[in-house]
Amino acid sequence: MDKKKKYTEQEGFKVPEDYFTSFEDKLFAGLEDASTDAKDGFKVPKAYFESLEDRILDSIDKENNEEEVKVIKLSSYKKYFYASIAVAAGLFLFFGTDLFTIEATVPQTTVAEVENEDIDSFIDEGLLTLSTYDISMLFEDVNLEDITVAPEEIEDNALIEYLSDKLEDYDELIIDN
């Protein structure tokens, strides 16, 4: 019996040609690819750090391009969004909650019936498409220092507790160093 054949074809199972001759090379190449650096058990894919600069600069270029398109699109949308909010708020203030019942068909919903929790969950579920960036664009000519918030009514501890509970995006805290 051909010895070579014995080891490459056994009981109907076949092995690609030269599989065993190049096995060591492929195995060690694979092991090298799997990881290089390791710290306390944590490994990093091979060449990860070598290509990192290029990938980050590519991401920045892509983001810059996308942002240019996004700003144009949202600015036109924003006008309608805030205009409608302003009109609704104006009517609401003018007529009062009792008169401002929308007698439309189904569903019969009034502004007063919309719970704050529903508005919160609407925002929490990501249905409000405006980002912090869009909102900041809207108020870019407003200086934060000019806004008075009656600080005596807000205790420091309450503010810290609120921020640690609610704040997820830390961008606002790192813009200024």
Partner: protein, 180 residues
């Protein structure tokens, strides 16, 4: 070697920005990678957070006033990005941050990019049992071997408070390791 002041100036200048940013990434990528990795544990998540960190550095460099070292500022962004990432993950799964830590550790055992032995895994479990702030302080001091003064700048916490945090963290880890 370029001075920090000169690097900042080049980063703020449109013409030299790209080259300077490449230099910045090259200088800090590994340190920041390990800083983030110890918080989020998984390689792919670390990669996402690291990229976001550098993108935020790039976007906000014009606002950097040099009131702290550039290094501290970048570390602060990386820390905040990691915390944000963990919070949003916990919220996405509808679980607490403590439950998320436990879930992440269960996954770590099957992670192809983790080859730690039983002791290393046990240490990670002990670290995960710490409150967030103590966990960050412990990682920065124990693994990254940062000075208290540098950690103080990054976390905006006094050196005294950091020493107390580290002391409590080591005690808790010791207790965990002895009782498990």
């Amino acid at each position: 070697m370029i001075s920090e002041a000169s690097l900042i100036q080049q980063l703020k200048n449109k013409e030299t920005q790209s080259k300077a940013f490449r230099l910045l990434v090259g200088t800090y990528k590994e340190k920041l990678y390990w800083h983030i990795r110890r918080m989020v544990l998984n390689h792919d998540d670390t990669d996402d957070v690291l990229q976001n960190t550098f993108i935020k550095v790039f976007r906000n460099i014009q606002n950097f006033k040099g009131e702290s070292a550039l290094y501290s500022w970048i570390y602060r962004i990386a820390t905040n990005e990691s915390i944000s990432f963990l919070n949003s993950r916990a919220k996405k799964y509808g679980i607490s941050n403590e439950e998320l830590q436990s879930k992440m550790l269960d996954r770590l055992e099957a992670d192809v990019y983790f080859e730690g032995n039983d002791i290393e895994l046990k240490l990670q479990r002990a670290i995960a049992s710490l409150p967030e702030k103590q966990r960050i302080v412990f990682n920065m001091k124990y693994f990254e071997e940062m000075k208290y003064e540098d950690i103080s700048e990054v976390l905006d916490t006094s050196v005294g408070a950091l020493k107390a945090s580290y002391h409590h963290a080591t005690k808790k880890i010791e207790e965990y390791l002895l009782s498990n």
